[in-house]
Symmetry: C2
Subunit: 300 residues, 2 copies
């Protein structure tokens, strides 16, 4: 059964390999690293890339924290309040904002959580937010995720795809954040599925990130764009900010539990914008994208 040390060490190696792949595809930007510690226990390795050829601002974060189980979790899990109960959580979180509006924004998180009472689970998600939706790219992205999921369980992709549609949704805009992806949580071991098998699935998803996103960078990074495209990018980034600050559970949890603000908010773009009641022109590329920001689209 993989130990927390083994899982943690793998997350670190994932951070390393993803940073290397992104630097290579970017061709100019280099990650800088900030190591931080958490007063209550543990810490992280925050790696940030800014002003590359392709990536305007992005982060690939590793963290591993531990301490007494927060009160909201004992409530949520119907646990007796037990002051001796401790938790350990480790994971990798990524958000990449490209400068060229034709290159999509991407996010991934893979995480492991365990408590001193023996309860553990894995969780994660990956979703794509194109400023302009390219059907071929969305299909490639979803097919890659489906392929990764199918190696483990053919029920995963449909289940986790729907979960992502519901999670990466902005109710006050009645829009999805992008073309979705997969989202999953509380994957624990059962009589039929070992912890080892769960960890293998997490590795599969983690390892899918770099080849898929560098391919999407590569396909789109040399595309030309206009001032109008940049304006639209600002507005789409505004929506990204709205989702992250109003709805994203990781952000909320981090800010409420006195997490490291600069690491949590690395997900925000270098610039974002809001225009009052902006409506794209009929028949424009912006309108086509908006019409595809809906739940339940089958991309595979």
């Amino acid at each position: 059964m993989p130990s927390k040390e083994e899982i943690t060490s793998w997350f670190k190696s994932l951070q390393d390999s993803i940073c290397a792949s992104l630097e290579k595809e970017d061709g100019k930007g280099k990650f800088t690293e900030d190591n931080w510690t958490r007063e209550e226990g543990g810490g992280g390795r925050t790696r940030i890339i800014q002003h590359g050829n392709v990536i305007e601002k992005g982060g690939v974060l590793f963290s591993a924290v531990h301490g007494p189980v927060p009160e909201f979790l004992t409530r949520e899990s119907n646990l007796n309040t037990n002051k001796d109960l401790t938790f350990y959580a480790a994971g990798v979180s990524i958000v990449i904002h490209p400068s060229n509006p034709m290159v999509p924004i991407i996010h991934m998180n893979v995480r492991y959580f365990e408590m001193s009472n023996g309860v553990f689970w894995f969780g994660g998600g990956i979703d794509l937010t194109p400023h302009y939706i390219v059907e071929e790219d969305a299909k490639f992205f979803h097919n890659s995720l489906k392929e990764a999921c199918d190696k483990h369980d053919r029920s995963f992709y449909p289940h986790f795809k729907k979960w992502a549609d519901d999670y990466f949704y902005i109710p006050h805009r009645k829009e999805t954040r992008g073309v979705g992806g997969i989202f999953f949580d509380k994957l624990t071991a059962t009589d039929a599925i070992t912890k080892h098998a769960r960890f293998d699935f997490i590795k599969e998803i983690g390892n899918t990130f770099a080849p898929v996103y560098t391919s999407l960078m590569n396909r789109n990074k040399t595309k030309t764009f206009s001032e109008k495209n940049k304006q639209w990018q600002l507005l789409r980034r505004g929506r990204y900010v709205e989702f992250n600050l109003v709805y994203d559970k990781g952000t909320k949890f981090g800010l409420e539990t006195n997490g490291r603000t600069e690491s949590i908010l690395m997900s925000l773009p270098e610039t974002a914008g809001w225009l009052y009641n902006f409506l794209p022109d009929k028949g424009s590329d912006e309108e086509s994208t908006l019409l595809l920001l809906k739940k339940g689209i089958n991309w595979v």
Copy 2:
């Protein structure tokens, strides 16, 4: 005793007079108006100004809505769940984002709330967010508010100033949003204070807005600024976005109760920005401002 009709009609006239004053001082920008209705009852008159000489994006909003009392309010007020209980709420909300970083952002809200059981109250607030704090301006702003408060009750300004320090605060940044102002809520009638007197106080605060802010526009609008100043403005606007989306109760309430999104989020600037772990240079104007974004500063 002023009726809801009388109070509502005054709020509308306040919106009119503030829009006229702002247009005059701006010299170019004109408000456009959107009238909207709320399915559950009532509606609003949203007035937006964009791309003026001084104001880049701003809104002066009137609304008057009514319906069954929302569940969270019966809980908060320890009322018995009573399906027949209805509410009526009216008010004016303002946020102005100037283009010149030397002109401060301003916000004001004045509101009236009543329920069919006879309970009523007034609330509101006004606060200033300079990108660069000018001590003389902050003193002028606070002295103007103190003067308005003192006409009604000499305990108001110290009490409401502290309330604003606590309310307009960004815990995850350990920064106030700006130089504060006043904030107050649930001002109802007592044996000693009539509803009429409360309404007079609300009028006083509402009427303070235009002369104070147009003066601040006037003092600063012709100041020159650099690219560095514009960059800093973007980051300060980023903080404004963080406050409004994460903490502001009006925004939260509006988004959660299916309010009109474009009216609620008119408070967001046309552009905002985030840089990872940005720290101003030692001894710079940006650092001086940051050092003053603290609670408890006495500006009068």
